[in-house]
Subunit: 204 residues, 2 copies
């Protein structure tokens, strides 16, 4: 905790006073935690938080809505003690037998099928995507079809194919969203954003 | 798999022919997978692989030596099917009750205590550190004390305090090492390097 405090001071110092004081106060802890997780200051320019998304996230957390992730790695990185304080369950369906089977039958990715499973079980949720652009693209379709309505989408898949496009698609919906534009992202970043939101909501 | 193939082609294209043909052939799949995991080309300049480390890693994998990680997230990101092909177990001790207690009593971090537990149980192992510089620093001491002798250390913690120094310390030992110099790294990168090594050894 001591080291984390010192790290955040270094991060804010390198971001600079002018930037820090002009950045939305409720979004700053998110940006700092993403940089803390990656040591990559380029998220300063790519982290995109839609209007009111942090406030909506706080409401969702206080209501104890479940967090769904696209990877076990993202699920594993979420602080369960902090989540537990709000009665929040963390789910990832990627390894479920029914998801594997449906993916095989349909030719869709397991990540896309997982989004469908979430739509059936938890149409209201926080959906965090750290890896699979296909998860974001299927989420977009399910939102359009009014089959899912996440309280928040964290859209930070990483990669070189369809990733940039999938993120822009999500930003076109009216769902509150936290997105790292461009190629960069990752399961660790999805988890870091969830943790920052949990901590800011009072989970630590 | 199709998308991964395309991604690797994009990565090699952006690295450039000259770079790709001059980079050590056995290390290239590691670098490409790290970039694939992060979309961050700066690893081109920071990924440091000591002489013969990839060959030593291959031997260790074929012998089925266990992989120890400092975080559950890194453990979670390692492809268990690929590891299983070599009979490789993946362990992370950070959440173990005895580690928690020993950390409380000693004032050491849980990551450092985990390194001690590994020294007792698996003095010969692949040790992958994606988060905690204290794990690397304790590993360094245990190596000096001849209490642990990993076949390979993957040293890619991320952060702003003691991280750069801890990585340099490991590079000073004679243990084969794969290190991302500087501040950057992460549990996702530790897992990506493990997976690249497993795949190159024939795990996929």
């Amino acid at each position: 905790m001591e080291i984390e405090k010192k790290s955040f001071e270094i991060i804010k110092g390198e971001l600079g006073d002018e930037f820090v004081s002009s950045y939305p106060a409720d979004a700053l802890p998110l940006l700092c935690r993403v940089i803390h997780t990656t040591a990559d200051f380029s998220y300063r320019d790519t982290l995109t938080i839609t209007d009111g998304a942090v406030e909506k996230a706080r409401e969702a957390i206080r209501r104890g809505l479940p967090i769904i992730t696209d990877t076990t790695m993202a699920a594993s990185g979420i602080n369960k003690t902090a989540a537990g304080k709000f009665g929040i369950e963390v789910h990832c369906f990627i390894g479920d037998e029914d998801v594997k089977e449906a993916a095989k039958e349909s030719g869709m990715t397991r990540s896309a099928v997982s989004a469908e499973k979430a739509a059936r079980l938890y149409p209201e949720c926080i959906y965090a995507v750290g890896n699979a652009p296909t998860a974001l693209m299927r989420l977009y379709e399910l939102i359009e079809e009014k089959k899912i309505r996440p309280a928040l989408i964290i859209g930070v898949p990483v990669g070189f194919v369809n990733v940039v496009e999938a993120k822009e698609l999500i930003l076109r919906t009216d769902i509150p969203a936290i997105v790292a534009r461009g190629r960069k992202g990752g399961s660790n970043i999805a988890a870091a954003i969830c943790n920052a939101l949990l901590y800011e909501a009072g989970g630590r």
